[in-house]
């Protein structure tokens, strides 16, 4: 018990003596654990909002599309779809079959579907118009969030579509050239929100857009039945009617099908689970972005901690010697050395857990498409355990080896406090001789502690990978949006952008932290060298430039490595979808910005270090 108290006292005193370093390590681990928690929690988020919308709108268990057979990429004018009286006859017959079908408890419809070209706010977009009665339907009655339901001349827009267009209740828009007033805004559980309307039907849509374009960008709106039928043109007739069904057992929705009718093909059936999945695409995208981001952040945090812990280890060698000289066992010594880092890691992990859990709802709000918010994503015990374990593992990994080495090393040499002399690297030394003074100093500094240089390069590479991944995302998504041509803001893109922004900020903060930490520890390590150089006649400017160069030299390969790494990261997260490489000047700008940041962050400790009076440094320490 007394030994525990002793260790505790030593740890407390040490933390008080170096609060800045402790704070830095806390920050690094907190950021990493927060990001990890976010990623893990979002993984398990459920699609609750869809359920709420389903309940509020009396959402259907099954949708039946009657009329034309499922058309992949159907465009107006092609042969095949029935229209006019032939269509009506087909629809009547299929409705009757549906009514008779076992398991159906309620039905509403059939509602005609027409393609419409919407012009509003100077924007143009394709839309699917559904014809409805003014009276509420028994199944799938969209819930109004603003204004009122359809009326002659009045159109109700789906909420995300309205947000994309930037219109609200009372605004005036045109459909296929005819003027309409926006009567209201509503949400529905019967269709995925804009722009995912066509996702689940293999990329095609039942109501083809009048403007041949991309498979996204189709919005949903409701009109009165007469208004919908009036939208039809000879080029683009009404070819489909939709019926909403409620089943006795919603779980069987996927298997529901009508018996074969030799007269017409079976209607296309969409179950509510498919729509739920399409709904979830928004959050799924976020997860895709967050997971690699979280691991990147964790990597950077590990690098930070390694540098911090490694730096402190060399300072602690004398303490080790002292403890052993007064009789502490190697085990106790190791415990003392590691207890401090473990305490910090635990504290940081707890803070990070809470921070990540609090931040998760911000990212999982379902956007405009659905009502309600998800319940607070559950911070399950396994998640908390995993995050704590990772934090401890990070602290352990970074400190265990040096701690054991310190504890088992010779007491005498520890007391003599001689850090390991740097290995001689003749090639680097020879290379540096002809260079200008800052590069000469920088190269020799790198040669002294190559492992730290490698760590610095890794840090820069990881950061660069994150930045390049973000740039690739922008290039790829921008290509897709631009291909659509409507100019509407894509909520998925917006949300992804938001998440990426948050992630990028976290990454950049961690990276900056890393750079400052590395530069600071390097400055402390090389304080004696810098003082000696100045005593031998190097100007303070050259010495500061040399210290900066020592950080920049490993940053160059890091930056170059980060580019393919980032592109690969995005490709992996995108699950092999088509990606567009960012333009060369974006990459060049990123490279220059990163290198400038590294140089800038290194310059501050370099300047501070170069200013201390040489005399006291030289007297205090030996090389």
């Amino acid at each position: 018990m007394s030994r525990l108290r002793l260790v505790g006292r030593l740890v407390a005193r040490d933390l008080r003596r170096r609060p800045a370093q402790a704070a830095l390590m806390l920050l690094a681990i907190t950021a990493a654990t927060a990001t990890l928690t976010l990623g893990l929690v979002l993984h398990g988020v459920t699609s609750q909002p869809y359920q709420q919308t389903r309940a509020a709108t009396r959402g259907p268990d099954e949708l039946a599309y009657l009329g034309s057979p499922p058309a992949v990429g159907l465009r107006s004018g092609s042969v095949g779809p029935a229209s006019g009286t032939k269509l009506v006859k087909q629809v009547r017959s299929q409705v009757a079959a549906l009514d008779r079908a076992p398991g159906v408890t309620a039905a509403s419809g059939p509602f005609p579907l027409a393609g419409a070209l919407v012009r509003a706010n100077g924007l143009t977009a394709g839309a699917e118009a559904e014809g409805r009665d003014e009276a509420p339907a028994s199944v799938d009655q969209p819930k109004l969030t603003a204004g009122s339901w359809v009326r002659p001349g009045g159109v109700v827009l789906e909420r995300t579509f309205a947000a994309g267009l930037g219109v609200g209740a009372g605004d005036r828009i045109t459909l296929n050239g005819r003027p309409f007033t926006v009567a209201g805004i509503a949400v529905t559980a019967a269709n995925p929100p804009y722009p995912n309307l066509c996702y689940y039907s293999g990329g095609g849509c039942r109501a083809g857009p009048p403007d041949p374009g991309s498979a996204r960008d189709i919005g949903l709106l409701w009109l009165t039945k007469p208004d919908t039928l009036a939208l039809a043109t000879p080029d683009n007739p009404v070819t489909t009617y939709v019926v909403d069904l409620k089943l006795k057992d919603p779980a069987t929705a996927d298997a529901f099908a009508l018996p074969y009718d030799k007269n017409f093909g079976p209607p296309e059936m969409i179950s509510w689970t498919g729509i739920a999945a399409a709904d979830g695409l928004l959050v799924q995208d976020e997860q895709q972005v967050l997971s690699p981001g979280a691991w990147l952040a964790a990597l950077l945090a590990i690098a930070s901690v390694a540098v911090l812990a490694g730096g402190r280890m060399t300072e602690r060698t004398r303490r080790v010697g002292l403890l052993k000289a007064v009789g502490a066992s190697p085990g106790l010594v190791t415990a003392t050395l590691m207890a401090e880092n473990l305490v910090l890691a635990l504290a940081a992990a707890s803070v990070g857990l809470v921070a990540g859990w609090l931040a998760a709802p911000l990212l999982t709000s379902p956007g405009a498409a659905l009502v309600g918010t998800p319940g607070a994503p559950s911070l399950t015990v396994p998640i908390a355990g995993l995050v704590l374990a990772v934090a401890l593992a990070v602290a352990l990994a970074a400190t265990l080896v040096p701690a054991i080495r310190a504890a088992r090393g010779s007491t005498v040499s520890a007391l003599a406090d001689a850090p390991r002399p740097p290995r001689r690297r003749p090639r680097l030394l020879a290379m540096s001789r002809g260079l200008p003074v800052p590069l000469l100093l920088g190269l020799r500094l790198v040669a002294r502690r190559p492992r730290r240089a490698v760590l610095g390069a890794v840090n820069v590479a990881v950061t660069m990978a994150g930045v390049v991944a973000v740039l690739t995302f922008h290039a790829t998504a921008g290509q897709q949006i631009n291909g659509g041509g409507s100019g509407l803001s894509d909520p998925v893109y917006n949300r992804d952008e938001q998440v990426l922004l948050v992630l990028t900020i976290i990454l950049l903060t961690l990276a900056a932290l890393n750079a400052v930490v590395t530069a600071w520890t390097t400055m402390l390590d090389t304080r004696h060298l810098a003082a000696l150089a100045r005593a031998l006649g190097a100007t303070p400017r050259n010495v500061a430039a040399g210290l900066t160069a020592a950080q920049l030299l490993p940053a160059v390969p890091g930056v170059l490595l980060g580019i393919p790494l980032g592109i690969g990261l995005f490709a992996a997260a995108d699950h092999g979808g088509l990606i567009t490489l960012p333009p060369a000047w974006w990459l060049a700008a990123a490279v220059l910005a990163t290198l400038a940041a590294v140089a800038g962050l290194a310059a501050v400790p370099a300047r501070v270090g170069a200013r201390r009076p040489t005399a006291e440094i030289l007297q205090a320490e030996t090389a």
């Binding site: 031998l536 006649g537 040489t614």
Partner: protein
């Protein structure tokens, strides 16, 4: 000695550390004139401020008061850049702890100041080789400090101090970390430097080193308390040495 003849001089030099109750007057009003070619030894108990004084003379530290002049220019008022140039070609330092770089060979250590001053690599190497020879370590030019004895390391450090052809060499307890045999090596070197006309200011508590000086100054509590001229005496007087040998003290 007149003001103009002094190569290195200081007047009313003061350096204080800390404040209020913790105020320490490391150097408290020191006047010193060192002529060209002179060897001056400063002796005193530890903590008397002699190392601080040396740092002030060489521009490694800024005084709290007074002035330091080297070859006519005010050292205490120089910018950091000018001080760097000073250390490149006017002042050479020798430290008690040698302060050699462990991963550089002897000759690489000696050429370092020239490289740091921006001189071409070949010129620096040539000069370094010559200096290594001057201190008598030609066969060990390619050795690392860990492979050299204490005396040899300090000789390398002295060669390094000579790299810029300095006007004055300031040595801070050069034999402090050396045993008597190594002290002898350094002694010989100092004597030969003295004979060659190098100006030397040595801070030491070793009377053997002090005995090589032209002037010996005693320092205590930040001020000079005594100055002894060690010129003249019994040089070449055979009788004196004989008397020494008969050193059977009556008790």
């Amino acid at each position: 000695m007149t003001e103009d003849a002094a190569l290195l001089s200081c007047c009313g030099l003061r350096k204080t550390f800390g404040k209020d109750a913790g105020l320490v007057r490391a150097v408290d009003g020191v006047d010193l004139d060192v002529a060209a070619g002179e060897t001056v030894a400063i002796m005193g108990p530890s903590g008397c401020g002699k190392s601080t004084l040396l740092h002030l003379l060489g521009g490694l530290d800024r005084p709290s008061g007074g002035e330091v002049r080297l070859a006519g220019s005010r050292v205490d008022q120089m910018s950091e850049r000018a001080l760097a140039r000073l250390r490149q070609d006017s002042v050479g330092f020798v430290f008690q702890a040698f302060h050699l770089m462990d991963e550089l060979t002897a000759v690489e250590n000696v050429e370092l100041p020239a490289l740091l001053a921006g001189r071409p690599a070949r010129v620096a190497r040539q000069r370094a080789t010559g200096l290594i020879e001057r201190v008598g370590l030609s066969e060990r030019a390619g050795f690392l400090p860990a492979q050299l004895s204490g005396g040899q390391r300090q000789r390398v450090a002295i060669a390094r101090a000579l790299a810029g052809e300095p006007l004055v060499i300031l040595a801070d307890e050069p034999t402090g970390n050396l045993d008597s045999a190594a002290t002898l090596e350094v002694l010989r070197l100092f004597e030969s430097l003295h004979t060659a006309g190098q100006t030397l200011v040595v801070v030491t508590h070793d009377s053997r080193i002090a005995a090589t000086a032209d002037r010996l100054i005693s320092m205590r509590d930040g001020t000079f308390i005594d100055e002894t001229r060690l010129t003249g005496g019994t040089r070449g007087d055979p009788g004196a040495l004989g008397a020494l040998a008969d050193l059977d003290r009556r008790s």
